[in-house]
Assembly symmetry: C2
Homo-oligomer: 310 residues x 2
């Protein structure tokens, strides 16, 4: 039941319409590893520079994250600065300083190679493929990607997709990858490219699962106040994969994937309630389950038997 994540660990500067923070822990693999650690033991593969604060290392350690695969090399840690528009409807990247991340070469420690579950966060598809080459026989492989790779490295991405049990992307990305204006039609085209299942993340509007056995839609969980949406997608993925790795023995069924999507949705709703990993670090599992139940409640209805006049 081990879960390997490969992605970025970053130091972020974030501004919203109301607040700002500088030099806070960010990056896809940070959100993922801390989120998933609530449900399964996590092994991290990432790179940080010599400036990376010890307190963040201790934070990962406090969640039992295996740091054998965390490379620490001379130089500065990946730095991202972003500003969100009012209502969080869009965001602008103010700085993307790759620093040591530019030379990231994900080498898996021997103790990682027999992992059952793998999440390839949004990095170059060549590196994502390279990670898979190092795994002996993973049971479930999920990956994220983005417009940059969809446009820039389509062949490497095409080689990755058939190797995936699950591709997790957002609504814009599925349209771009599927090449149609309809999310549904695009989702079908994306499935034709090889991944066994597809999750489309729709931000505050929820998420959808597309699978050979059907489609499943779930709204987002209710959040009173969004403070920082950074990391919501990776936290969603962490709940999804953490649930599969920690609670589902064997190959997951369509029903298991629906459950995983709901756990991811519940968990992601906490990530946005504060900056960085604040809400995730000490989050009790029963709080996640309470939100999961509210979410399940919010979609409950008993379909009518007929629309004909009685």
């Amino acid at each position: 039941m081990s879960l390997v994540v490969v992605g970025s660990v970053a130091l972020d500067d974030i501004s919203t319409a109301e607040e700002s923070r500088t030099n806070i822990l960010g990056g896809s693999a940070s959100y993922f590893s801390v989120g998933a650690s609530l449900l399964a033991p996590v092994k991290l593969v990432a790179v940080v520079g010599s400036d990376f604060p010890e307190e963040h290392i201790r934070l990962f350690e406090s969640r039992g994250v295996d740091l054998m695969g965390l490379q620490r090399i001379e130089g500065k840690t990946f730095h991202w600065a972003g500003r969100y528009a009012k209502d969080f409807t869009s965001r602008e990247s103010l700085a993307t300083d790759l620093n040591v991340f530019a030379e990231f070469d994900p080498v898996l420690p021997d103790s990682y190679r027999d992992a059952d579950h793998v999440f390839l966060a949004n990095i170059h598809p060549t590196l994502q493929n390279k990670v898979l080459d190092q795994l002996s026989a993973p049971r479930f492989v999920a990956a994220d990607t983005m417009n940059y790779w969809i446009e820039g490295t389509p062949e490497e991405l095409a080689r990755l997709l058939p190797r995936l049990d699950l591709l997790l992307i957002n609504d814009e990305e599925v349209r771009q990858l599927g090449g149609t204006s309809s999310i549904t039609a695009s989702a079908r085209k994306v499935l034709d490219k090889g991944p066994k299942a597809l999750v489309v993340k729709r931000g505050e509007h929820g998420a959808s699962l597309y699978h050979a056995q059907g489609t499943f839609h779930l709204p987002a969980a209710t959040v009173d106040r969004v403070r920082d949406p950074t990391g919501a997608g990776d936290t969603f993925a962490s709940g999804f994969m953490g649930y599969l790795a920690g609670r589902v023995p064997g190959k997951p069924t369509f029903e298991d994937l629906k459950q995983a999507l709901a756990v991811g949705t519940a968990l992601a709703s906490f990530a946005v309630e504060d900056f960085s990993l604040q809400r995730l670090v000490d989050l009790p599992l029963d709080k996640v389950y309470q939100r999961y139940q509210s979410l399940a409640q919010s979609i409950r209805f008993v379909p009518i038997e007929s629309l004909s006049p009685q």
Copy 2:
């Protein structure tokens, strides 16, 4: 079980990335009356000019729509021209020629005044209030509005809201009316302004119902190809109100409103599959019910009992 709708009847010019049509039947009350006529007898209150084609009159008549309240006056019919962006993520109004609609004075024929159900489509809130003044004792009153009135006539709108059983607006409008960046928090603030329930339309991401007894979310129904999203919101309202007027005796419960939302969702998904009212005119009720069932299927899952390790 009579259902009165007050709104616009228009002649539209529509361009999408792939197609365009000129001088086609549009307007909120057109979509609403034809959509709702599948489920309940509809009485229309609107105004058209002397240029309004007879074939559109016959179309309304073919659906049994009561046209006693359709004013026909000298001049040109309301004309709207709009262009949708690729992916239908936004639209631009190219022309809004109110023509005879500028002087619209909704007077209800005597035979309309004892209507049980009323839908006030998006018109000046003063006129919406005026329509309600003419009704004897409606059982269920729903209204739409828009940013223009939220900004421009807040006092008239504030007078309308406590008179409503249901306000139906979109995600941008709820944020504007509620004054927060969160749909959920804004929805609560809107309910505080007086309507007994609120539906937030999220376009291709579905719709949410906010009610004293809880919240209900439903995704949009699957559409293979969107050709023209014009009228989707009014068709949604038509299914919602048509279901209440035609199938729910007495005051609707929270469960009835959930059902109504699902019927509206199913019906709206047909409207966008073609231009104007093409898909709605001859739509068999069992096709609507089939889509309703697929929709219900797409949200079905059995929540897990616990997130704790087994």
